[in-house]
Symmetry: C3
Subunit: 322 residues, 3 copies
């Protein structure tokens, strides 16, 4: 089965579903999922015809619901929902208002929106979609099957295949590089590029600066949420996950599968090991070892952070009593 789930009750095998839907609004023809304990009550009252659920929570299902037992119900649902809702097909062609430099390479199977500007020497892969008003600068390269939304600005970058850039993303502008001087800052020419791997996703209004001398690098399958700032020379490994409004200062390097929660901030020139987890709102000023979880500002290992929170709370309450 596509989703890797097991049907609990053979009698339900003939059941078919017509759509996917959330717990609260799903009806008898819909497939849903339960992933978060917070929603067990909604699950118990759901009218959904079928649901992905873990073994552990399956007995909370209402009578008559077909249960698809999955180790990871959310992932199973994701795969099923992808089958129900494949990405919409391209409407290949170029809007007559798109301005494409004669030296740019844009295959005929791309979909180029209104008022798009594609400058000299840019090269797009097959089946790329480019939304209205987007500007693709000189020499920019895009792999196959990229989806670039509207009002995006790209320059000084090489982008892999199947990359998704949401509206308002800015890639490749000069970063924040200057040497302070009494007569005013002396700007450092920014000479590097941004290299983005395959299957990367970057959220709306996020910004990625070009490298200063090195390149800024975003590894394959990395997911970046909205309003995230990536400074010059930053290197992100494979499969990193950066939630909304994260900021990473110049020249910091992340290994693979690093996660950073919303509004986390990383100082410059740090090394973050693979699999490290940086809590939401953390303010990181030191290197982090592979696999470590850090919280707080200044960020410390999670065990120490929990004790700090507990001791502070205890002291505050004692003071209250005294």
């Amino acid at each position: 089965m596509l989703s890797g789930a097991t049907l609990r009750d053979a009698a339900s095998a003939a059941r078919s579903v017509a759509d996917v839907a959330p717990l609260e609004t799903a009806g008898p023809d819909d497939l849903t999922f339960l992933d978060n304990r917070k929603y067990v009550d909604a699950f118990a009252q759901s009218r959904a015809g079928a649901a992905f659920v873990s073994e552990r929570l399956a007995d909370r299902a209402p009578p008559g619901m077909a249960l698809l037992i999955a180790r990871d119900p959310y992932k199973a649902y994701a795969r099923a929902a992808q089958a129900f809702y494949p990405a919409p097909p391209l409407a290949s062609g170029r809007a007559p208002t798109a301005i494409i430099d004669s030296t740019a390479t844009v295959p005929d199977d791309c979909e180029i929106g209104h008022y798009v500007v594609i400058e000299a020497g840019a090269r797009l892969g097959h089946r790329c979609q480019v939304g209205a008003q987007t500007v693709i600068g000189p020499q920019v390269e895009l792999g196959d099957d990229c989806r670039i939304a509207a009002n995006v600005t790209l320059s000084h970058c090489v982008i892999g295949a199947r990359v998704v850039l949401h509206s308002g993303v800015r890639i490749g502008q000069a970063g924040f590089g200057f040497a302070p001087d009494a007569a005013g800052p002396v700007k450092i020419p920014q000479l590097g590029r941004v290299i983005i791997g395959d299957d990367v996703d970057i959220g709306a209004n996020s910004t990625v600066d070009r490298g200063s001398g090195h390149d800024t690098v975003i590894g394959p399958s990395t997911m970046i949420d909205n309003l995230v700032q990536i400074g010059h020379n930053v290197v992100l490994g494979r499969g990193c996950i950066l939630a909304g409004q994260v900021g990473i200062s110049g020249s910091t390097k992340l290994g693979d599968f690093v996660m950073a929660g919303g509004q986390a901030g990383l100082a410059g020139h740090l090394n973050i090991g693979s699999g490290a987890r940086i809590a939401a709102k953390a303010g990181l000023m030191r290197d982090v070892a592979a696999g470590e979880t850090v919280c707080g500002s200044p960020a410390v290992p999670i065990g120490l952070f929990m004790k700090q929170v507990a001791v502070l709370q205890r002291l505050a309450k004692k003071r209250d009593g005294s």
Copy 2:
């Protein structure tokens, strides 16, 4: 009287003012206000002809100033300033460079700027203003009297009347939804919409993601400042106020009249009661009861926060002395 204020001195009744202005620059023909104790000195030296002021601070006025006693001088000033400076009238019509799909509905009394793109099935209300370069996606609906600035991107949304969207706002893009997997994240198709109530105001470069299955909802009269991130499935009630750079993670629900200070961050799947106040920079990881005020990261009730700050400061100073 328009502003609900009372003139203190009948002798000033014949005074007329020609404009509104700040304390420091107002002259004898200007109307100003005093709202913040910080500016009492500037008030005492102001050359303004008239001022809205509270009863309490009225005796700090310079001689000769006509005093308009108001319970809320800022609100009284707001109403007066609105009368002096009504919103500029529309210049109805469509720029010849605007591209409007033949199946879109755009009343003749709308003002559509240069290079605007309005896609299939979109429906605008009367007297909407759409700034240059803005992209309105398929099936998007706008109520009457909306003011959409330049360089805005709208998709998958239904927007009420009198909504103001500042430049660079992104509404309706797919949110941050995927299930982690060793082979790379499995993306969840995002199927919901964004529903925005009447009289909502959203600041420059803010982002509101479409729901994943449910809709993302912004209640009427809610005010959102610049660079704010609203995740998928978030529900904001009526009259909420979100200051700059606030981030709200997916599926969190706010009641009515909730306030969040600048750079506050809310984790996902929380419930925030009506009238709750979330301090600037707070990092919220738990539900908040109606009317409660929380501060800090991790956020705690304000009373406890104040004690935490005090006890920490006391210990740090003691250490200093020892």
Copy 3:
């Protein structure tokens, strides 16, 4: 010498370099620099032909490298790199798709990109560059030699000479001004402008609101990074440096040469003295004296902050041991 550095070894005087490059990738014909102790090992192994380096670290150089001893190697490198990479020359002219109001002033030596919109009464200085899709509102003024990137929106502003605005910058929109009211917020008409001094640099997707009654002011040579929010009536002095995602609330005033680290947040109506330093992630709720350094949230002087961090850590560890 252009960079103010001294050649250590007269035998190297005849050496010439062809390019500038980072430590790790520089070859025998390249000039590089060492500025950060973290990179001493990379320096020792660098194949660069020449390097700017401080007296103190010069003996770590590999044999054969020509050493240019500089008090500030980064600044010396900056000057050298500027000489190697001057800003690209303008391609003066107007894209045929640019829409320029007949009452706007745009000198012939400007470079105006595709689909730019310049509205009534706007005035550009000489040799300004305006990127594709940018919208310049009515009466906006730009000094000479400004570089405005693509997808920028300007209104209600007066901008000095040599100002650089990166893509997605929003200047001059109405700020967050309203008086709360049970029937919904009463908006304050925003009547001021944004005044930007010479040599200012503003990063991608940053936002600067127009003043409410006063003007919002950004002093000359101030550097602002990406995704920064500047509220209405804020005044920044000369040479301030604001790192990524900083937020400054309405009516706060900064003196000259104030520095704020990434994600710092400043409450409204504060006064920050010249030369003050606000740490990354600081949450500032009080005035700061000239030259003072503050950290934490709520922000305190750095000495007190360090003690707070130390005492909390000690108590948390003691608890652990007990």
